[in-house]
């Protein structure tokens, strides 16, 4: 067999970026990848930050001189059982229908190169492929929400029943305790780093949310403007990150909380401080996706509610445009090299992934 016919795998670079974007346009036209600054941030800067010397996470399968498939991943430093390990969040995978199977070659390359490979929001097709290639834990993270304005929130559900309205009017957030305060921040300092280093051992697996990661992910984002704050309580401090999203063709804005970082017992006391701060902003509601049981438990104790998927409570998940997406929760998967596996790794509620991880909080064509 002529080996040149079977194709080669190369990393994406400045030399082939334009051709790669043209290739991607076949599948998702006018995508945010067209924004070179965004692409560079998402896929190149991340690799530098993670300390990935060998590759930037994005590979092209070249056959007969042309791109036949692409696999994109955000190189990431994970904290796993006390160690820092460079792996990746796999984000996209496309292949030409005329050369079927080439996507498999690229996914295989990703698994070969990444001792930890994670995904979020993957399709059943992708799950069916990945689950057969290496053992994966595939699960759904809970979505929590809290209402600021019941009437506005009602407009963003797909029901106008009295019971829906009554549910959205439930308020369970206490007033902030005396001695608590909130400070907007434009850097993640040594105090944050110290907190994270203490916290990360609570999780069996997490994106390593170091100060440098937080700066890259939220403060250096080329398109979105994130708000970051420190909430002080009598017993310690926590950090929140969120973004304001305008719901197109409506007067409503919602808050997408991306991070809630702190000891659970401090989060319980601090969340009302954040809620109080945001209450004056005219927002409909806020939501947050997280895989960790302790973090979610603390926020529920503070008054957030898990999204219930029954008819009548169909709170929209996507807003740009508003979409009745049936996935009220968000699926994640992680796969570990067999040498890293042990039974504790398979309890996903001990991981800490959020919607801020990977490319889930991503600009859509309407906002670029």
């Amino acid at each position: 067999m002529n080996m040149s016919d079977s194709g080669t795998i190369i990393s994406i670079s400045d030399d082939n970026y334009s051709e790669a974007v043209q290739f991607l346009d076949r599948f998702k036209s006018n995508n945010v990848w067209r924004n070179n600054q965004f692409f560079d941030w998402q896929y190149n800067s991340s690799a530098v930050l993670a300390g990935s010397d060998e590759d930037n996470g994005t590979f092209l399968f070249i056959q007969d001189g042309h791109i036949a498939a692409i696999s994109m991943a955000v190189k990431t430093r994970f904290h796993f059982k006390g160690k820092l390990i460079v792996g990746a969040w796999h984000t996209e995978w496309f292949s030409k229908k005329t050369v079927p199977g080439t996507g498999f070659r690229l996914i295989w390359e990703q698994l070969r190169r990444n001792p930890i490979l994670c995904t979020s929001g993957q399709s059943l097709y992708a799950a069916n492929v990945l689950l057969r290639m290496r053992k994966h834990v595939w699960f759904e993270a809970e979505r929590l929400f809290v209402v600021f304005n019941a009437k506005a929130a009602l407009d963003l559900t797909f029901s106008s029943e009295d019971q829906t309205k009554a549910f959205l009017q439930l308020q369970g957030i206490p007033r902030p305790e005396m001695g608590t305060d909130l400070e907007l921040i434009d850097q993640f300092d040594d105090q944050y780093e110290d907190l994270w280093i203490r916290l990360r051992d609570r999780f069996v697996l997490s994106t390593d949310r170091s100060a440098s990661y937080m700066r890259w992910r939220y403060l250096d984002h080329p398109i979105f403007e994130y708000q970051c704050c420190r909430c002080r309580t009598r017993n310690g401090q926590v950090f929140f990150v969120w973004r304001v999203e305008q719901v197109p063709e409506t007067p409503h804005r919602v808050i997408r909380i991306c991070e809630a970082i702190g000891e659970p017992e401090i989060l319980v006391v601090a969340f009302p401080v954040l809620y109080d701060y945001l209450s004056d902003g005219g927002y409909a509601f806020a939501d947050f996706f997280c895989s960790n049981a302790s973090v979610n438990g603390a926020l529920v104790a503070a008054g957030m509610r898990p999204v219930i998927t029954m008819h009548g409570l169909d709170l929209a998940r996507l807003f740009s445009p508003l979409s009745d997406d049936p996935r009220k929760r968000l699926n994640y998967s992680y796969s570990l090299q067999p040498s890293l596996e042990d039974p504790a790794c398979f309890q996903y509620s001990n991981t800490c992934f959020t919607k801020g991880d990977t490319n889930q909080d991503i600009p859509n064509p309407f906002s670029t």
């Binding site: 067999m1 080996m3 016919d5 079977s6 194709g7 399968f61 056959q63 036949a68 498939a69 292949s95 050369v99 079927p100 199977g101 080439t102 996507g103 498999f104 070659r105 996914i107 295989w108 070969r112 097709y125 069916n128 492929v129 057969r132 290639m133 290496r134």
Partner: protein
């Protein structure tokens, strides 16, 4: 039957099984020359990995031995085992030795 024939039979049975899930124009032929290489064969990614897993299961049933076909060598520069049905059969024979 020789062991080589048994191996081919296990692969052909796997092809039959995978073909049942595929439209007619994407089905694999049952010959030693049938191409398996992703990008050259008709199988898409799911079809390919289904074939790999089914071959592993069939070999285990036929020979009472567990083999793993997914490893670092599966797409090696020298071609790897997934060129054709025959190269896969030869590779399995080596694993069973």
């Amino acid at each position: 039957m020789t062991r080589a024939n048994d191996i081919l039979a296990a692969i052909f049975d796997a092809i039959d099984e995978v073909n049942q899930q595929l439209p007619e124009d994407q089905r694999l032929g049952k010959s030693g020359e049938a191409l398996l290489t992703p990008g050259l064969s008709k199988l898409d990614s799911l079809g390919f990995i289904n074939l790999v897993v089914t071959v592993e299961q069939n070999i285990q049933q036929s020979f009472d031995k567990t083999i793993t076909l997914t490893n670092d060598e599966m797409f090696s520069e020298s071609g790897g085992p997934f060129g054709t049905v025959q190269t896969l059969a030869d590779h399995i024979a080596l694993l069973l030795d």
